[in-house]
């Protein structure tokens, strides 16, 4: 089978208005900026975005917030983005806050076919509201349910022609986890290399999980 890379614009057109989109990135480090730009350029609307944070205005998914592409975000914090806070208070943006480790595990559970996980995080806090509490070995845990999405947009360090991916230092963060949890996975690599350049032990996301690869800028 021959797999080809597509433009960021073409990838953005695969993502319809109203879609749920998981994104890699931690304060925009490890966020696929060209895919974000293409979503803004095509005027995406009503997206639900799922990831660590909304970065800052003008950076990473902060650009999606600025441009009004987002109806809802499921993130662990918004403290660094005043635009997110302003839109939330104005009622233009729904913000669901999830503890960061719980967010990672909920996405992982979605990708790994688990029905949920039990975590001690959030017990006895506002996070517990509306959730099932389960006691195991005398300790109380919250039952946290899986998260999946229509799309995942990843930033990778290298991709090979089989779409195998590597990540770099702290740009890895949520990228490998979301690669398992979305129906359609789109990766934006920094480099695209021939098969064999990435050794099997260096692959962090097997290419079979990746549906579309974004070509390098020409």
């Amino acid at each position: 089978m021959q797999r080809t890379a597509i433009t960021a614009a073409a990838a953005a057109h695969l993502i319809p208005d109203g879609a749920s989109v998981m994104f890699g990135g931690f304060m925009a480090v490890g966020t696929p900026e060209r895919l974000v730009d293409a979503l803004v350029a095509r005027g995406a609307r009503g997206l639900t975005i799922i990831g660590n944070d909304t970065a800052r205005p003008g950076v990473g998914v902060g650009k999606l917030i600025d441009a009004g592409c987002v109806a809802r975000c499921i993130v662990s914090h918004i403290g660094t983005n005043p635009v997110t806070q302003k839109k939330m208070i104005a009622g233009d943006l729904q913000v669901d806050l999830v503890p960061q480790g719980t967010l990672a595990e909920r996405i992982r559970a979605g990708g790994a076919g688990l029905g949920g996980i039990l975590t001690p995080t959030g017990v006895g806090t506002a996070v517990e509201e509306g959730k099932t509490v389960i006691e195991v070995a005398g300790r109380r845990f919250l039952l946290e349910t899986p998260l999946t999405a229509d799309f995942a947009i990843l930033h990778a360090h290298e991709a090979d022609y089989s779409f195998n991916l590597t990540y770099r230092l702290t740009a890895m963060n949520f990228n490998p986890v979301i690669a398992l949890a979305a129906r359609v996975v789109i990766a934006e690599p920094g480099e695209i290399v021939p098969v064999g350049v990435i050794p099997p032990d260096a692959v962090r996301t097997p290419g079979i999980l990746v549906n579309h690869l974004v070509e390098r800028p020409r």
Partner: protein, 220 residues
């Protein structure tokens, strides 16, 4: 908070570092602790965005957009560093592999409960990794100013949303070291030159005062 207050807190917290352990420092004041690691102590610092073994900002022009701390600031990696994803990062945090986390605080109450992630109606930054850190680290040290805007941050009962049901291990402020115990908050140490009476006057929660409260030692 004056530079002196921050420095006192950071230098006292640094004495809590244990050899050959993994430590997570929160953004802001807690970061300063790394400047005062006592001699003979080797500590690995974790940044929850996915690295163990990070170092000071890189030389000018050598910043790497793929290498930052949890606050988004450029860092360097020390020899022997290890990178990993968010699931692994929080497995380390929640699984008890962190000996200590040092976090800032908005309030600590008489039972040792911490609030540090939101002020309803005014500030909703979100909990980020704080709830996992407090739930999972072996020791949770709160590094904060004793008072803010003239009001004690050590209160009888939290008026802000709690970060965890679990009490913290130790509270280090510019005035005192306070240990939450099942009996209540115990005043363990005084900041240099600060009298017990001054601490009691500055604290809204009641404190248990043992006979003889020593002055805190400071690292570095």
């Amino acid at each position: 908070m004056s530079m002196d207050a921050k420095e006192i807190i950071a230098r006292r917290v640094a004495l809590e570092l244990r050899d050959n352990t993994l430590v997570n420092l929160g953004i802001g004041l807690p970061t300063l602790v790394a400047r005062y690691i006592p001699e003979g102590i080797s500590v690995a610092f974790q940044s929850e965005n996915g690295i163990i073994g990070f170092g000071a900002p890189p030389p000018g022009g050598m910043e790497d957009p793929n290498l930052t701390d949890a606050g988004g600031g450029f860092i360097s990696a020390l020899p022997g560093a290890a990178a990993f994803d968010s699931a692994m990062s929080f497995a380390l945090i929640r699984g008890g592999h962190l000996d200590m986390t040092v976090l800032g605080g908005l309030q600590v109450d008489g039972r040792g409960h911490l609030a540090n992630w939101m002020v309803p109606g005014r500030l909703v930054p979100g909990m980020g990794g704080a709830m996992d850190l407090v739930a999972g680290a072996r020791r949770v040290v709160v590094a904060m100013q004793h008072a803010a805007r003239g009001e004690s941050k050590i209160v009888p009962v939290l008026t802000l949303p709690a970060t965890a049901a679990r009490p913290v291990t130790l509270v280090v402020t510019d005035l005192a070291v306070i240990e939450p115990t099942p009996e209540g908050l115990v005043l363990r140490e005084r900041a240099p030159g600060v009298a017990v009476a001054a601490i009691l006057a500055a604290t809204a929660a009641s404190l248990i005062v043992p006979d003889g409260v020593p002055e805190m030692a400071l690292a570095g």
